[in-house]
């Protein structure tokens, strides 16, 4: 039983109003009595003419009050909560976000075999779901929506009990950013044109708050999986700094958080390529961040930080970082000659290999022969800088291969433009533009060519002048003007800019591809000749869970550079195989969504139900609280109350016709 509109309780004031009207009614019928003396005595004893005395025996009054009360009650829009109240289509939204993989401590876990290390919330959810669908879902069509990277409709109007149970058993936690809102939206859409349905959300209450609520046209229920009060310590940050080559030492910094109410010792172990490098016991308590640093670490390809101790959520107990394997950045500079640029690159700590390009060769067929002879330098480079217009040869053959597998910075390689941007520079947030203002920098002309791979990061007066992005997993940076046409090299910010560029280009230069949140799409440098690629779980949580990563994504040109990171946290190897059978593998660490690690007791999703079929109910903040608990399947009592009120009014009419009172 629930009330939708408590505000209508104000109409209840009509009841005392009716009573008042009866009280003030002064209509007495003169009745002569011989036994007045006796009446006098009776009244003296009883004090029968107290005001409320005359309200006692008034059938009409009581009927009117009853009718008014019924009407007020109807205005409050009551409904009965019915379990499985006849709706034919049951849409179940199962919260399979990362927090569901947390172990449920306390009583809830006792039911499950203790040897398996306690039941996770997901196991409880499966148990509840199987039981719920067995109880409530009999003879109804069941749709199952799982909250994953995208809402997945695992079942659609399924009536076979076996299939339902099978689908429930196959639910897996998703550690990435779960699609909370989208799942509700899907459930809402599934039931939109179908009044005879019902939505039930199974969740541990940890649901991302949503400003704009999804409105449902059908009853919505929330079944909470009690998660107990789990303890979770998490690695919030982990990084390796002080990059140095093999033999040198580096420094690791980690930030540990915990939600334990009492300080609890957490053992932090740091491994380098599988070998224990350092270990430390840290007291962690709620709301405190412990920053740890490990100095003098030997070089390792992969550093792993692991927490051991009482913990109910294991997915975020590990973090990985990758060691830097090069000290100096090697830059290949193709330029007709630019002293400022070369010096700035050297200042940025890079080893510059300069290739002179004749600026006058452009568009001159007579010089082609000489240009063709431009040799491709030996070795690998971290960055290729193309300064000014480039001859055709640089875009062909060996050069093209080299450029395609190396980060590239072009400066004014496009056609000479005429437009002269004026105005204040607008700078987007980007590693390249850090610490820069570029105020008062003059730019002579821009070509206006817009590269397909990137976004403008600096605009002057609305004209994009610097683009940054990635192509085939390699960073690309383009200045749409020649340095010769600008006073940028004279600006004191120029060395800063070049240093930024070098840092950005080489930031990926660790031995691994980086650390990503599960399920995100990343750009992975895929070699052109790669014929096959695969994800291989290497270490950590993913090994324990026995998860089999999905196949690498393929585009029509082969292995796609945009790859979706596997769903389970841990360390992976992305292995590429070229036709010769050679394999190139790179490390990639997958971390869970930090939101899921915050295992505090949540309140679950806020859902609202549209009143009736059309009018959207405007939700106010305080209304939500009330609705949250009452948004269960409801059977409106409105028509019944209206009928009852009509009956009472008819009765009242009968009484009115017959006489004044009882």
């Amino acid at each position: 039983m629930g009330i939708q509109s408590w505000l209508s309780l104000w109409f209840g004031l009509s009841l005392p109003a009716i009573v008042l009207m009866y009280l003030f009614k002064r209509k007495y019928i003169d009745t002569p009595v011989p036994s007045h003396m006796l009446w006098n005595r009776v009244l003296r004893n009883l004090e029968a003419n107290r005001p409320w005395q005359k309200l006692q025996n008034r059938l009409l009054l009581w009927l009117q009050l009853l009718a008014a009360a019924l009407l007020v009650f109807a205005l409050m829009q009551p409904f009965l909560q019915v379990s499985g109240g006849g709706s034919q289509h049951l849409v179940i939204v199962a919260d399979t976000s990362g927090s569901m993989s947390a172990e449920a401590p306390g009583d809830a876990a006792k039911k499950i075999d203790p040897s398996s290390g306690g039941a996770t919330r997901l196991e409880l959810l499966k148990e509840r779901l199987v039981e719920y669908t067995g109880r409530e879902g009999r003879g109804r069509d069941i749709s199952l929506v799982a909250v994953g990277a995208r809402p997945a409709a695992l079942l659609s109007r399924e009536s076979s009990r076996e299939d339902v149970v099978k689908a429930i058993e196959q639910l897996q936690p998703y550690y990435g950013q779960a699609s909370y809102r989208e799942s509700l939206s899907l459930a809402s859409a599934l039931t939109r044109e179908d009044g005879d349905s019902e939505v039930v959300i199974f969740t541990d209450g940890q649901w991302k708050d949503d400003k704009a609520q999804i409105a449902f046209e059908v009853p919505v229920g929330i079944e909470k999986i009690s998660g107990g009060n789990p303890v979770n310590a998490a690695v919030e940050q982990f990084g390796i700094s002080g990059a140095s080559g093999p033999g040198a030492s580096s420094r690791a910094v980690a930030v540990i958080t915990s939600n334990a109410s009492s300080p609890e010792g957490v053992e932090v172990s740091l491994y380098g390529d599988g070998k224990l490098l350092a270990s430390q016991e840290v007291p962690a308590s709620e709301g405190e961040r412990q920053t740890l640093s490990f100095d003098g670490l030997p070089y390792a390809e992969v550093y792993r930080l692991a927490l051991t101790g009482a913990d109910h959520y294991k997915a975020d107990n590990e973090a990985y970082a990758f060691g830097y394997d090069r000290t100096e950045t090697r830059v290949l500079l193709l330029t007709p000659g630019n002293f400022f640029l070369e010096k700035a690159l050297q200042l940025g700590g890079s080893q510059v290999t300069r290739v002179n390009v004749d600026a006058e060769s452009e568009g001159n067929p007579a010089q082609d022969q000489a240009s063709k002879s431009l040799p491709v330098p030996e070795g690998e480079f971290d960055l290729i800088v193309l300064d000014g217009p480039m001859p055709e040869t640089v875009q062909q053959g060996e050069w093209e291969k080299l450029i395609s597998r190396t980060p590239l910075w072009t400066l004014g390689t496009g056609a000479k433009g005429t437009s002269r941007p004026q105005g204040q520079p607008v700078i987007e947030r980007h590693p390249v533009t850090a610490y820069l203002s570029l105020s008062g920098v003059y730019i002579g002309s821009v070509s206006g060519e817009r590269p397909s791979w990137g976004e403008p990061i600096v605009k002057v007066g609305g004209t994009p002048v610097i683009y940054a992005g990635t192509e085939a997993g390699h960073p690309r940076l383009s200045f749409d003007f020649r340095l010769q046409d600008s006073d940028l090299p004279l600006s004191p910010e120029f060395p800063v800019l070049v240093s930024n560029v070098l840092q950005w280009i080489t930031s990926d230069n660790a031995s691994g591809l980086g650390r990503y949140i599960a399920g995100t799409v990343v750009n992975i440098p895929v070699a052109l000749d790669t014929v096959n690629a695969q994800w291989l779980p290497a270490e950590g949580y993913v090994k324990e869970s026995g998860y089999i990563p999905p196949e690498a994504l393929k585009s029509d040109k082969g292995i796609s550079a945009a790859q979706t990171v596997p769903d389970v946290p841990g360390l992976y190897r992305f292995e590429q195989v070229n036709p010769a059978g050679e394999t190139v593998s790179s490390w990639l660490a997958v971390a869970p969504d930090p939101f899921e690690g915050n295992l505090a007791e949540g309140s679950g999703p806020a859902v609202s139900q549209l009143a009736g079929s059309g009018a959207a109910a405007a939700e106010t903040g305080e209304d939500q609280e009330g609705r949250r608990s009452t948004a269960l399947p409801g059977l409106s009592l409105l028509p019944w109350l209206a009928l009852l009120a009509l009956l009472v009014i008819a009765l009242e009419w009968g009484v009115y016709q017959r006489g004044r009172s009882i």
Partner: protein
């Protein structure tokens, strides 16, 4: 006209003639009546013989016994004396019943009132006429008065069945109206019977002063040597009121009103109060060795007389 209709049915009179009033008190009177005195006297009823003593009435000397035995005996006869019967009929407005307000203020005869109104008044007069006729046929002295606040109309002392006509017509034409106050009426000089005897009061006993007033009146009558019979005649509405709703209860006599919302609880309380009042009346009467009977208006006359009055030992055949 009320006169055309007999107050009492003719056949009822012959049945009444077989009855007589039963009185416990000594009967005294100046004239010889039909009532047997405890003293020996001059009636025809033989009582005993005794030896003649000089000075005895020679008319009672039994010559037959003297001639046979030679002893002088005188016959003794029962003395028969008359009874002084006073009848007071309440003719205040309340006797008219519920619809009697106009009659009460107008003061006209109310026999043509609606049945409910007429019955109480009618029954009271019928009972008074019956008792009066009974007394007349026993050669008792009868005096009758209708009272409200004072003695409204009184008949001179009647004797003999021949006076029955006067009795009936007087009752039939008795005016109805005014406040009823027995104590006030009796305190009027000459209102009390001069001789000891029997007094019948026919009233609904709705006295403003309640049982105190009644007790005072009964004391007056007791002081006058009266054996009092109080007959309370009540209508059905007074016994079991069936009111409902918001009412303004107006006293038919004083015109004073009281606003009241009638509830079943209130009616219950009324019934309890009525019971208590009746108990009080009975107690006041019993304390003085007097009789109290209640006769509801819807009781047939025959049942009232043979059932209640005879049952209470007030009337005997």
């Amino acid at each position: 006209m009320s006169g055309s209709k007999h107050l009492l049915p003719p056949e009822w009179l012959t049945r009444l003639e077989r009855l007589s009033l039963n009185t416990r008190s000594r009967v005294a009177g100046t004239l010889q009546g039909k009532r047997r005195s405890r003293r020996l006297g001059s009636s025809l009823e033989f009582a005993d013989y005794r030896l003649y003593a000089p000075g005895d009435d020679v008319r009672r000397f039994d010559w037959g016994v003297y001639s046979r035995t030679g002893k002088a005996f005188v016959r003794q006869f029962m003395d028969e004396q008359e009874l002084m019967v006073s009848i007071y009929v309440d003719c205040s407005a309340s006797m008219a019943g519920i619809q009697g307000t106009e009659a009460g203020t107008g003061g006209g005869p109310s026999t043509s009132q609606s049945r409910a109104a007429a019955d109480k008044w009618l029954l009271a007069r019928q009972l008074a006429a019956s008792i009066g006729y009974l007394a007349l046929s026993s050669y008792d002295r009868l005096q009758l008065a209708c009272y409200s606040k004072s003695m409204d109309s009184r008949l001179p002392v009647l004797r003999g069945k021949g006076a029955a006509h006067r009795l009936f017509s007087h009752l039939q034409q008795a005016p109805l109206g005014g406040d009823g106050s027995l104590a006030a009426a009796l305190s009027v000089p000459g209102a009390l019977p001069r001789l000891p005897g029997m007094t019948w009061i026919f009233s609904d006993c709705w006295l403003e002063g309640g049982e105190e007033e009644l007790s005072r009146s009964l004391s007056l009558l007791a002081g006058a040597g009266q054996e009092v019979v109080l007959v309370q005649v009540l209508s059905r509405e007074e016994l079991e009121p069936r009111f409902a709703g918001d009412l303004r209860l107006v006293d038919v006599e004083t015109g004073g009103g009281k606003e009241v919302a009638v509830t079943s609880r209130l009616l219950e309380a009324y019934r309890e109060e009525l019971d208590r009042y009746q108990g009080m009346l009975a107690r006041v009467c019993a304390e003085r060795g007097m009789s109290y009977v209640l006769i509801p208006e819807d009781m047939p006359l025959q049942e009232a007389v043979f059932g209640i009055l005879a049952g209470a030992g007030l009337v005997k055949s």
